[in-house]
Amino acid sequence: MLEILSYGFMQRAFLVALLISVIAPCIGMVIVLKRLSNIGDAASHSALAGVAFGLAFGINPIAGAVIFAVIAVLSIEGLRKAFGRYSELSTTVVMSAGVGLTALFSGFIKSSGANLNSFLFGSIVAVSSFELTLTVGLCIVVFAASMLLYKELFFITFDEEAAKLAGVPVKAVNFVFMLLTAFTVSIASRTVGALMISSLLVLPVTCAMTFSKSYLKTLIYSIMFALFFTSVGLASSAALDLKPSGAIVIIGVITLIVLMIINRNKK
């Protein structure tokens, strides 16, 4: 089993997966607790539109993904206010736009569709040195920002009005958080897959919330769950010749179901 780790591509795959496992729950915690779980989907589908745009018009697809994901999350925030009581529609509208644009731009891609497909389900075992550097850099930025803004994010997520009264720069922190979400989703889309990243944002946090009582512990357990899903997912995909990103997500879903059954029996 350990033989697989002797391959360079597998070492890179493990490193990337483990790094994303650390940052995804940092973003996922706020998204889940603010009941904005769909934001990951909307951002990743928009990132996919950016990838298609990049592939169609000769721009680096990851750069395209970052730009489109940033525009998407900022649009969600703007539309939430515009829709008022139906604010949840904002994510659906942005996701629809992302899917529509992906379909449109994909028609302009001259090469085969293989490249775009690799962004749908990720290509974690084909991570290049450039992508590894980018992922490491991103992970450091997102993790450092999440830790620096830990108490601000907690306060805003728990009670935005009280945070505002206490002097927390709510708008600025929300803006930075949205940017971090866009960066995480777009870079992770390349490695974990646009259709998979929102699962990695949500599943570890949902698992941790089945038994954790404190915010800090929920975050720590979420990171541990994400690390567990990715390492077991990658190992099993190598051993059983499965798609890595699919294996990671399915292990997450199975873990959640087991935890829910245990919880139900406790009650």
């Binding site: 607790l33 803004l149 108490k151 009005e161």
Partner: protein, 245 residues
Amino acid sequence: MNNILEVRNLDFEYYDGVVLRNVSFSLEKGDFLGIIGANGTGKSTLLKLILGLLPCRSEQITLFGTDRTEFNELSKIGYVSQKSNSFNSDFPATVQEVVSANLYSQIGFLCRAEKKHRVMCEKAIAAVGLEDCKNKQIGKLSGGQQQRAFIARTLVNNPELIILDEPTVGVDAPSVEVITKIIADLNSKGITVIMTNHDTHSLISLANKLLVLSEDGCASFYDKKKLSEYKLTRICEGLEGHNHA
């Protein structure tokens, strides 16, 4: 500084109509203001205007001698909202985490809490008698315990003015008694209190100043010690106010 709050000719309207019309009153250190009025008479709106959550014109509200629009000593004011407005009971957060979050203005942006902040947090939790619950998930506590935790959250900054919006709504009778006693004790220590409550009798017994809001947006301000028993009873029964004066 004895003048804590001064409200002068305050008007406020939403797009669908006037809520407050020409409201004026002032509070000094140690006052307890009970705000009385039926639903929709602007009680919560008035509190939000004082807190700066809704905009007002300059010179309409003065806090601790400073115009509301320029006031930034946020730790001087504590606010307990109607918990149902802002609280997700499944949120994984302990009482300690919720209380210490409000130390933000003392800790500062991007800074870490120090030992003295943890001591302040413990003290605030002890002041409401929740020492045994400090590591429990706030959403799993009873309604009364949750509201005590929110009072502890305001106390952590040693505020000089506490604003409570229906603090006992949805709370069981024994807890109402505990919460009422905590609020009365805080007021007896010199903390100025502004409170709205659906239980007018209880509010009138606690307060020394009363503000009665009527449906046309007007307000009548009373000093309780200058009121006759007859007038107090009429206020209590909802028969006294601007419309009935």
